[in-house]
Amino acid sequence: MSAAVICTDLSKTFKGGVEAVAPTSLTFAAGQTTALVGPSGCGKSTLLRMIAGLEQPSAGQITIGGQPPEETLRKANLSVAFQDPSLLPWRSVRKNIELALDLARRPKKDDDIDQLIRLVGLDGFAETRPAELSGGMRQRAAIARALSTKPDLLLLDEPFGAVDELTRQQLANDLPGIWEARGATTILVTHSVSEAVMLSDRIIVLSPRPARIVEDIAVDLPRPRSSDQARRPEFGAIVDQVFAALAHGMAETLPKAAQ
């Protein structure tokens, strides 16, 4: 089961007066992976956090599968993976995953957890604590934790953000297949254009702060996608389109900011 996320006139202005998200209406189709792309600081995380129920919108509405986010939260039916893996340092990889299951009030099945750990490529590290893992391995653990509760909605905030470029490519190669197989509605925040094209069914390009939708781009490339495809002209065309939209968003905003 997966659920569509519908945002209606959603906006957020922080207490200090920082307008992070301008009124935005947006639908994330059920079972699709949608990438949010925009310059750093434009309000991507804020948008995601509002959908996750971690931040109250200043105005507007969100429904997830036709219900308010509180209902989804109550059923622990979404998972968030943050840029910072946020693993608890005193718990092993397995125990960190178990924590998510505990919090979500799901049964802890050893076999399922083992399988998940194998799937993300952490075989043999189940009993290891985060401090002894590399950055990339921590991201893998965080993804495993997010998937463990089998959520209908998966929110990924730059899940490959805090690692070096090589590791990042490797993660982007290994992990998406796992969550795509689950069929959850996935919202992926990234500032890497090629990553967005590679992983998503649709890309929303956002303007600099406050975030507005500049362009809504469908990615009609066949799946599964491989790094070979990244060299194909269709792929390149979409990448160019996204870059053009980003530049357009910048150009529209900058003169305004100069006033």
């Binding site: 996750a52 129920g53 939260l73 109550r74 622990a76 979404l78 998972s79 943050f82 919090l103 979500a104």
Partner: protein, 523 residues
Amino acid sequence: MTIATPAQRWPVRAGPYLGPILALVIWELGARALSDAFVLAAPSAILIYLSDNAALMARALGVTLGNAAAGFVIGNLAAIALATLAVVWPRSDAMVRGLALLVFCLPLVATGPILRVVFGPGPWPQIVLAALAVYYTTLIPLLVGLRALPTGWLDLVRSYGRGRMAALIHVRAMAALPYLVAGLQIAAPAAFLGAMVGEFTGAERGMGVLTIRAMRGMNVEMTWALASVATAVAVLGYLAIGWIARLFMADEPPVILAAPAEGGRKGSRAFLTVLAVAAAMIAIWWGGLRLLNLSPFFAKGPWDVFEALFLAPDAAATRSTLANAMRETGVFLLPGYVAGLAAGAVLAMLVVLFPAISGTAMPVAIALRSVPIITTAPLVVLILGRGALGTVVLVAIMVFFPTFVACLHGLRQAPGRVMDVMRSYAASPWQVLLRVRIPAMLPAFFAAARMNVPASVLAVTVVEWLATGNGIGSVMALSASLSDYDMLWSSVALVCVLSAMGYACVGLLERRVLAAYAPEQLA
């Protein structure tokens, strides 16, 4: 090649022990040289006294340890409960902190006799005093620890639809554990101190009782033996808790010394908070007496104190007695307080300028900080007499150790990157000290300065109570022995309020100074 021969290695290994051994030898020789002056007992004499009176000492130690342990458990449980309340229900935070501070500012020496009439004979006054001596130093690090965690961990809990209780149980509790240990380490010797202060004020058994007896009898060996045992117990308690913690904890406990500076609350808001805390304190005081149904002869409520201070026929006389006593006390307290702070800060800076000593200075200073200075009050009186100097020195020593440890820690906190930049400009150690280290030290220094307000009040009142016959401590002792309960309660209330105000004043000064010299520390 730099291979150390055994001959070269020997002094290195003996290094840490050389200092203490030298000190013991000097102590022994000094005591023998001064044997006519009746101030100093040689280590050998102390050992002989202890072995001759082993049964007596062991009994007293057992009693005091028992009371201290009970107070330790009660006080720390109270601290954990209060910290939990403040975290689960954040609105209560200001109230919890305010009330906790007021209770922490109660002058223990005068609280002792009041507890004695409330509880009657038996160990409870000592136990309650021990609990009062420990809860604040546990509460403050715990409040820091329960909050000092990445917001991502809390977001994780919330993203599964769980609330504050789940965050507390699954995330905060473990995250705060090292902070709890840091608090408990300070609490162990403090509990012993509290129990002894309780015994000073009218118990039948225990180390405190023996200490009073030794002082009255001018028994130099006994006084020194008692102080040595108290010191050893305190340091052992500190080390034992660290050792137990290390068995099940990966990280060293952090050194947390006091609450970080309060965030810049708006003036009117702060005023309202103070009013609310004061009102709550008065309500608790009044309600507590009602609930315990105590005799109004010794259980004075807020109204009784107000009456004694402002309405009674002798109110003016009472006020002037208290004012004079406070003035006398202030004359000892302030120089001692300032001298202790200055000595602590300056010595810490010197130690940092000479890295060779700083490696050993920290553990030694941390161990010495846990010595219950008050238990050495009789020694200071023996050595420096019952005059002003002894009192000032005792206050200064009481203030010195926590300040020294805090400053040393703060000076070491200087961010490594900035230090590297300074080094790349070939900055001298002095410049590094002035530009980088001292600004990094200021928050720790002020935290120590705040926490030391009540500590120095405790020191001064204990000496006045035990020895000098001056100031507010002596007024307390006198009114306790004369059963002048109006005066006793009034002096407790007055000292408590003044200490809390002193604490607040240091906090204000702290914000001013940090804003001017180290604005990055105010974040």
